[in-house]
Point group: C2
Chain length 165, copies 2
């Protein structure tokens, strides 16, 4: 598996996965009706970095990294990860998360925060916990799950380094 900066062509090939994930409304708080151009802007242009994981030229997943806030809050970053359905259970999310931590440290971030981990997404929660992320808060009924209705979301956080470099 190689993880590289996303290209416009990579995103075109990732789009069916992106669309399926937002339409499912089980994990991401993105507009489920988002179109291709807006999705490209959101995933590839607004973040600081966006990467894809590939194997033999096939897109296994993608993630973005961006500051979670501006100015005096811009030492905490935020990432979002999506794995292609056919590539699940193979450690792609774990590999992308480790890659993102390295990128974040190199870019000078002190911590990484996930703002809305859907509480029913147990696979993701266990994975983040195994990588050192802690649940630091719970938003009651923070997400309208398509199948389950209102469910809680977790704020998860990991300190990456001790001091502003």
């Amino acid at each position: 598996m190689e993880i590289t900066a996303i290209t416009a062509d990579d995103f075109r090939r990732f789009w069916p996965t992106f669309k399926a994930v937002v339409e499912a409304q089980e994990t991401y708080a993105f507009d489920p009706d988002i179109g291709y151009e807006d999705a490209y802007t959101l995933w590839c242009e607004l973040p600081q970095f966006t990467f894809v994981a590939k194997e033999n030229g096939k897109i296994l997943g993608s993630y973005f990294l961006k500051p979670n806030a501006a100015g005096p809050g811009n030492h905490v970053c935020n990432c979002g990860y999506i794995v292609a359905p056919e590539a699940r259970g193979k450690g792609v999310a774990r590999a992308m998360c480790r890659h993102s931590q390295d990128q974040a440290i190199e870019a000078g971030y002190l911590a990484m925060q996930f703002n809305a981990v859907v509480s029913t997404n147990e696979t993701a929660i266990k994975l983040w916990q195994s990588l050192g992320y802690e649940i630091i808060g719970t938003v009651p009924n923070g997400y309208r799950h398509k199948r389950l209705g209102l469910v809680d979301t977790y704020i998860m956080h990991k300190q990456l380094r001790r001091q502003v470099p």
Copy 2:
């Protein structure tokens, strides 16, 4: 005191207060070097609503209201409030917060969330608590306070209604 939708002229008169608050780097995670046009976009154009509190034509403060997330997270709103230095201690923030809750309920939101209340901003925290907001999470070292260095931030939340209308 009257609270009305902000106009471009209101923002022009509010700008010195806005600039002083972001430059102080004690309460807001906005770029302290933000310029007028970007500030107008951030405060008046990107949010769903922006209001000003006035008394005898003088701007006492302003707030914005927007969804805190998109799609399946867009039933939780987020607000930011700024009171002019000369108008502090007169209940302006309380009045704006009550107004924002009414607006949020009318717009169909189920809850309001503040993502980064600086833990040293005791006046604000006490005020939000008195209005029913609870601290639901703490981000360790979430804010680089200009005088105090790294300080924690709180996520605060209030349920506004029980069900999606």
